[in-house]
Symmetry: C2
Subunit: 304 residues, 2 copies
Amino acid sequence: MTPLWQREPVGVVGLGLIGGSLGLDLIAAGARVHALVHRPATAERARERGLASAVSTDPAVLQGCGLVVLALPLDRLLDPDPALLAALPAAAVITDVGSVKGPVLRRWRELLLAAAAAGGGGPDPSRFVASHPMAGTARAGVEAGEIGLFRDRPWVATPVATPEASTDPAALQAVRELAEALGARWLCCDAEAHDRAVALISHLPVLVGAALLQAADAGGGETCEGADLVRALASSGFADTTRVGGGNPELGMLMARANRAALLEALGHYHRSLSSLEAMVAGEEWAPLQQSLARSALLRPDFL
Amino acid sequence: MTPLWQREPVGVVGLGLIGGSLGLDLIAAGARVHALVHRPATAERARERGLASAVSTDPAVLQGCGLVVLALPLDRLLDPDPALLAALPAAAVITDVGSVKGPVLRRWRELLLAAAAAGGGGPDPSRFVASHPMAGTARAGVEAGEIGLFRDRPWVATPVATPEASTDPAALQAVRELAEALGARWLCCDAEAHDRAVALISHLPVLVGAALLQAADAGGGETCEGADLVRALASSGFADTTRVGGGNPELGMLMARANRAALLEALGHYHRSLSSLEAMVAGEEWAPLQQSLARSALLRPDFL
């Protein structure tokens, strides 16, 4: 059967890095893309860049879409505009691209149940598919979208299967077909497991790198022929270690806020690992230190 | 006046990444390079690669060298072969390329004073110039040396000027001319300041990245369709943050051992920075967290 994204227009809400890249790939694949954006200037630029077949600041642009992708920043995803909610077609499959999944699932189930209870006739909660394409660059905004961003990257969905709530298999399949059409590697897992994993491999590195920059600043202060010594001597290793820690502060804060419990748990694991290494340095246990560093070196290739 | 490295043969002790790269650049610049290596197989391969004009496992190869560069791993630099010490020409300027400077300076002053007191007639302690070319790749060994490794990289010297010991200005100048001939950016600073700076920007990131790998391993363990979830989802951000933490464990241990006090001090700064960020997450202080991350983002460009 023809995939949903080919049969009916695809709605994209937000045309930043993820939404814009989705739009470019979908247009290239022959889909009709109806995009909703916040500001008229964004709509104009998105039209110039060809990010969608129709772009509007009016939520009515989503009418007739079979599949709607919410490509919003986490704060707006967790606290969406009521006009957006009201405009979601009742029959549509809805998915999001947020980097945390438990809070998004809980919030959108609540919102869609409330809309149904109020007789609003919005989409069924079972047709909300929480997902997370794990792709990105350092860029943001309407200029950031690029062709092929999702190719060979994981696209994780976190379907629900509890007595109170479950994800419609057909809705899940529709999102999978979209993801795979863009070349992504489809994965399904539990939302809480996803959030613990991204806390460890994505949100914790932000704090670790940010702290390293502040430590180098605080501990530096020696000068060398007029130049600050730590800054003069920092090499590519320091640049790499701090890349995500020196990234967009608002995104970093939003991820920490939305994934607070998992991030604190990840920090707990991190403190144990670092304290163990530090104790070896303090205790001059050089053979165990080398063994521990060797274990880290052996672990790393599995993460690449 | 013609620089020392052009007037007299340059001795290079060790032909790993740094020694081999030095040899290639110096040969290309027209210098005579006399290299001392540990193993006959290394000597043979070094000759094939053209890393020096003469290569031997016999310390006598250093005879007649006006400038000798000790390009040894930290452990062998801090505990050198007595035969090497005995073979250093009495009139030579000696420099090293170790990544810590205080311990190297103290140790070599001791060794050269002891040699002089024993009537061995080795180089004068004032003509030992501690230095640190801040260049590297992930490679090691006789195959690692490459042309142009030092170009545009800092080359830090840590001359001494105390009543008991001081560095001969002519010796310092001879090393500077060598470094600048290879395209390096010459800097002088205090040895303890150097060691504190590299603890912050080079040795601390090793522990931070190593701990992050171990935390992801310890906190992971959820599986997703058979694959380990943290490993399946780790992205380029995680790879960058852990690059130096997953590096050579022996080098990491040797740097920690030689720079222990400065590394523990750097860890103190780091704990304060990370604890502050963690307290904001725990206390749900989102505006201060965003401000703190913004400060890190502003700091980073100065380190690049």
